[in-house]
């Protein structure tokens, strides 16, 4: 099993790097696989990944968490406020604690009172937005360096690490532009360049989640609350407690994601989650409610965002277009082999359109890159939705003693 899994993983990674490398070679755009790009993509990916992970926790226990955005907002605020008062680590803790309050609220509404979960989540989003703006005005308006809409700077820094011994030679190798080798070098170097301790924590949380949820009794029970809470209840599992634990922890993770954002910007600002809670939710679905896939989805968002922002002369967007085209062709090819003609034609046509666009335009407006992750998400879901397997009782209100 694990052997198969690791082989599949290596295969997927190999394919991904090859496709990136082909694109990089054709476009001659080193940014696509450079150390800096990858390092930055991780920074952008982390808050989204944390939101996605938060989604996994709640939904694996059967509670849809559309309130992630609100919990993240609470997290950004908590981090900004406590970080300004007592330093960056207090900010992290406060972000987590504020997120937990959001989670608790969702648990009360959805688990205890059985309110429709999407409705409860929406209400939390509203409440979080109003509350943080209000508190910002109260607490930050007269603070030096703060304002009605932003906190004063967070004190202190999260340590970051650069493994010079790896980064330097690999970055040099990257600059040589050798097919595959240089790209791999850039990717690996990016993982050890300006790596924030919070990113490492994020990574560890993913590992911990995989382990806890899939390898321990605790995880089995928690997931049973999302698959068949009635069965779990009949075996003495305290379903409500597990749901509470999962949703509150979900809020903590979302809050941490928010804290990450505030800390990355050194301040809290109204609206600086910019919809990342929703994007996290999308990556969770994209990743089939599993940590690995969710992380991949988050990295995609981070990667595209990075390329857009470090772009010079709009060439990265062009690269992305070609990358997208190659991926579409690859999927189309797989579909053809699986004899899914209609889907295959769809992908090949789309791929051709993008190739056409690539060769006919010298540059693309930044809006293209701005919407690219969302379109990609839609495409992935359109391709894979039938194979995705949400927890069977996800979103179903559970009341002790009731049966379905």
């Amino acid at each position: 099993m694990t052997y198969l899994k690791s082989r599949r993983f290596i295969g997927a990674a190999f394919t991904a790097i090859t496709i990136l490398s082909i694109t990089r070679t054709i476009t001659g755009n080193g940014d696509l696989t450079s150390t800096v790009t990858i390092a930055q993509a991780l920074v952008f990916a982390s808050p989204i990944a944390l939101a996605g992970l938060a989604g996994i926790w709640a939904e694996r226990a059967g509670v849809i968490n559309i309130g992630l955005e609100g919990m993240m907002i609470l997290g950004t605020f908590g981090a900004g406020w406590a970080g300004w008062q007592w330093g960056v680590w207090a900010g992290v803790l406060a972000g987590v604690a504020f997120g937990a309050i959001g989670g608790l609220l969702l648990a009360v509404a959805a688990v205890t009172f059985g309110v429709d979960q999407i409705i409860a989540g929406t209400a939390i989003n509203l409440l979080a937005l109003g509350l943080t703006k209000f508190l910002a005005i109260l607490l930050f308006t007269d603070a030096p360096g703060g304002g009605q809409a932003q906190s004063p700077p967070i004190k202190g820094d999260i340590p970051t690490f650069t493994l010079e011994s790896i980064v330097e030679p690999l970055t040099a190798l990257h600059e040589k532009g050798i097919f595959f080798v240089s790209d791999l070098a850039g990717l690996v170097a990016g993982l050890f360049y300006h790596l924030s301790l919070l990113t490492i924590i994020t990574f560890l949380l993913f590992v911990m989640t995989s382990y806890l949820l899939w390898k321990t009794a605790f995880g089995l029970r928690l997931r049973s609350a999302g698959e068949n809470p009635w069965a779990a209840d009949s075996l003495g599992v305290k379903v409500v407690q597990y749901k509470y634990a999962a949703v509150v922890f979900s809020g903590m993770l979302a809050g941490l994601g928010g804290a990450y954002l505030s800390i990355a910007s050194t301040i809290y600002r109204n609206g600086n989650t910019a919809g990342r809670g929703f994007i996290g939710l999308a990556t969770m679905i994209f990743g089939d409610w599993r940590p690995g896939g969710t992380a991949a989805g988050a990295i995609m968002f981070g990667y595209i965002d990075t390329l857009r922002l470090i772009d010079t002369g709009n060439q990265n967007v062009k690269g992305l277009i070609l990358l997208g085209a190659i991926i579409l062709f690859a999927i189309g090819g797989i579909m053809l082999r699986k004899a899914k003609r209609n889907s295959a034609i769809g992908f090949l046509v789309l791929g051709s359109v993008m190739i056409g666009a690539y060769f006919s335009a010298t540059s693309f407006p930044p809006e293209v890159a701005q919407v690219a992750p969302y379109i990609t998400t839609l495409l992935v879901l359109a391709t894979a939705s039938q194979n995705l397997r949400p927890p069977a009782a996800d979103g179903v209100p559970y009341r002790k003693g009731d049966h379905h």
Binding site: K215, L220, R221, E227, L235, G236
Partner: protein
Amino acid sequence: MAQNVLAVELAGIWKRFPGVIANSDINLKVTAGTVHAIVGENGAGKSTLMKILYGMQKADEGTISINGSELIFSSPSDAIDAGIGMVHQHFMLADNFTVLENIVLGSEPKSGGKLDFAKARQQISDIAAENGLAVDPDILVSELGVGDRQRIEILKVLYRGAKILILDEPTAVLVPHEVDELFNTLRDLKKEGLTVIFISHKLDEVLSIADEITVIRQGTTVGSVNPHTQQVSARDLAEMMVGNELPTPQSVGDTIRDEVVLKVENLSVFAKGGKAIVDDISFQIRAGEILGIAGVEGNGQAEILDALMGIEAATGTVHFKTEDISKKSTRHRRELGIGFIPEDRQRQALLMEAPLWENRMLGHQTREPNSKGFLLNPRGAKADTKRIVKEYDVRTPSIDVLASALSGGNQQKLIVGREMSGDPKLLIAAHPTRGVDVGAQAAIWDHIRNARQAGLAVLLVSADLDELIGLSDTLKVLLRGKFVADADPATVTPQELGTAMTGAGKAA
């Protein structure tokens, strides 16, 4: 083990739900090392009582004693700790979990915080081997059939070391050889000293396996019999259950006309994996004819009905009169005059949170008196609902109450009344009198018989063999998606039919 030790003693159990008393003063004594059956009508309160014994629900009054000591259960874990295990009427399995995960859930073997999969696998295969319950622990439950699922449920209980086993209608979904296997297992368990409490509606089964039988009627225990020492028949038990003599469904006279109303050729329905659930069957029904399908539940009855209604995809052809309706929508089929009483009334036939008169429209929303053209006609629907309530004796204070407020039997009466409205040409009915009390049952039979007289064709699926034999003009036996025998309702006995349903022999 001494025969007189009481494994379970329930005394003076009361349980009230809003509007209904599920258990009233129940007293039950189960001797250790026996198979003790509990029988009673639908809704008599059997499952409720078992849930109380298993700690899933709390009794309002009464005491529970296990092996002589009085205990209070506030959750299933308490009951599990007391050595009680329960296999529920509806399977309690997580489909996306493996067999192993389902079995160990809640009592996982651990090594240092980690779930010890190796140990679990070992324990499960040991128990499985001991009891002849072969399963692959690493397969997903979603890939398993009902027989396997049942085995897993029993394994779950044994895995927890239960000494008292509650089985709530375990045989309802099993095919006969699976029933035999189950009974063999139960006998083995009994030999090992386990106590089994067994609920079933199949009285002959009960008589064959039980050492003692308790009858529950309307929430209270009305008596116990010992089939080893007392001479009791299934019919005797049934009469104890309902409290008076059973009415007999009997269709008199031949009303069959020449006109073929429904003609089905080579109908097949396939499961997701490609397995045929309904396997190439053909039949026809004429006007004025009632065709009964006998069979153990889960042999494809529900799928045939859904396919005929266009709810489930199927291959083969279906003709209504002369029209080929194989590709037609459900709505079209209904508009042709096909009435449908589905198996699962609450999920398929009712809007539980809508008033009765809106439920009157359901499935008939395109026709008079419920609508004119594109507009609804609430006044017409209300008037007609009142008619149904009167004619079918639906017990309700008003037609404005929500369907969920009615008892199951009354819900069923409303559905039957609705589906018999508007002069249907064909009625496709599953268990039309399930959960209906004796008086109403007779009334429903009368309605069906009268319509038959007027030329209604009926496809009848029922678990009640007397009903099936009594009403049908023609009988077919369904086993694993195929018709395996025909029976003549004039001569066949329920025993013979029952045997044929198991595939053991040909019916007369």
